[in-house]
Symmetry: C2
Subunit: 383 residues, 2 copies
Amino acid sequence: MSTTAPKGFSAAGVAAGLKSSGDLDVAVVLNHGPDDAAAAVFTTNRFPAAPVLWSRQVLAGERARAVVLNSGGANACTGPEGFQDTHATAEHAAAALGIGAIDVAVASTGLIGVRLPMDKLTAGVTAAVEALSEDGGPDAARAIMTTDSVPKTTVQQREGWCVGGMAKGAGMLAPSLATMLVVLTTDAVVPPELLRSALKTATSVSFERVDSDGCLSTNDTVLVMASGASGMTPSAGEFTDALTAAATDLAMQLLADAEGSTKDIAITVRNAAGVDDALTAGRACARNNLLKTALFGNDPNWGRVLAAIGTTDAAFEADQVDVTINGVTVCRGGAIGDPREGVDLTGRAITIDVDLKAGSEQATIWTNDLSIAYVHENSAYST
Amino acid sequence: MSTTAPKGFSAAGVAAGLKSSGDLDVAVVLNHGPDDAAAAVFTTNRFPAAPVLWSRQVLAGERARAVVLNSGGANACTGPEGFQDTHATAEHAAAALGIGAIDVAVASTGLIGVRLPMDKLTAGVTAAVEALSEDGGPDAARAIMTTDSVPKTTVQQREGWCVGGMAKGAGMLAPSLATMLVVLTTDAVVPPELLRSALKTATSVSFERVDSDGCLSTNDTVLVMASGASGMTPSAGEFTDALTAAATDLAMQLLADAEGSTKDIAITVRNAAGVDDALTAGRACARNNLLKTALFGNDPNWGRVLAAIGTTDAAFEADQVDVTINGVTVCRGGAIGDPREGVDLTGRAITIDVDLKAGSEQATIWTNDLSIAYVHENSAYST
């Protein structure tokens, strides 16, 4: 049921003609209240898209009543005209919903550097508002897909309340924030400050640790809205746990559907001097094209793991580091370990454990392999 | 004539059976003097290969008489045993040459994490020493090839003296140092301190600005030896210019032969607040897989240029940046510029000019596209 699993929300997804395929491409999610607390996290890219600039203003008040989302165009790097397009979209939706434009967040995804066809988009928003329903969550999730092969949704049910959500994202998956649009909803009673801190916690250990291709998008948006319609008030810990579970579920779905990927790779760096060191070393591996192509080729090339972490400033001694791939410690003390022939990489799931022996902290970064299909898909994307 | 173009040098390349193909795989370059000044730059990877550890000791004295090079195995991440192998190689060569082992640098290239077959290697060194000749430069250049499709050599002729050189490297091309082995020779009279400073200058604007795939190797070595055999003493400026010309010529050959590449891409960042900002922004583009795949697909996707530099801390205002691809200013002021249809990307050479409008410094980074052949070659490399 996606974003409409929690009480107090309706949603819709319609085909407005933004996608040449004729698939659903405009979504609206509406919070019916009684509460309208909201929080969001946006891309840190210094070329934020017009909808990011707009939605930052909306969320500054820590409330939102609705979000309009479209695929088929990112409305990024489109200048003042692009911002006016986003503003007009919010105004149009607000008029149709009978609320203020400042209560309407906007999110867009698709090609950068192209204006949106506003006639089609506004007609789509009108149709989506008319189609709003308590069963509309799945359609909304389909309408935000770009190169995604499947919609991504989640529901985390708790005693008398729940968290729902949808996500899109299959490329440009990198921190901070996997490139994506995510809408999370809850019918719990959650004050704005808790919503904000819980979202920060949830994204930091989920979306921010997915690094599929090292590319940071201009449009990343993670939005959470709380309706309070259940009348239930979970503790801060309970709510944060549920939101984190929802975010992690969606992040793993993004990873599994990453463009052209054939492997889901969990890189865990153990016994680091600090979490930052563990993340730095893990990201260096996740962004090493030679390692990623080797894993695509089912080659447990641990030398490329060392070469990758050898470029970082993480604390370690070169003659201390162990590397274990799918359970086989192929590198011990920075040198040759157990025979690489013992490593079975034929499955989709790969675990790489790096033991730095420099402390007691650890972290996991999730990434994908670099495949021929990735190159093919991304070389042909805009043509 | 490669490394034997300058007077006072002999070289050889032989097939020792390290490569399963039977191609040349062991090289020796000998400096007959009268001078034996030498300088080198090594990888900054924190897992330096055994030959790098050894050669650093050799070069600490700012002199060297010979260098032994092998392909077919990097001798990296091989522990103390690997270091003993390198040491034994130097001892073996020194005995055959009648010099001290501390005068013999060693460089290796090939797969990481595998011990070298020392019986084959030492027999190869013996054969190479016996084959040393003033015409041996080209054979030596062929013997250090791995996935290179052609040998890379250069000669920079000056009045009465010259600089010669050879290079290998087709993957793991990233700073600082493109991944590679490079031997430069000169018959000029050059004191060690000038040799060192000239090499630093030459590499900083050549090899260190080639960033083919963002991967830093464990074995990078650039070695220069001066025989003084011409009796000519160029000025510091003259020598630095010639060495820089040789290094730049070799760097462009590395770029042109990068694994699987179909494009040579020069990314020039102009009007930056400083050279560091220009390099940071240029490297961010050079390492952006989405941009590199787009260029492989002949797609002038300027949005991915902005998305890449938007992840850096270089000084710029988002609404000021222009991007020109092959002469067409497709992005003006961070927004849509001239029609992308006007960009012709069918040739191998691509220029991307980014105007940050934040200062007056500039720098160029050279990179390649990310092709299906790159993935294929690197997924199959060790198998």
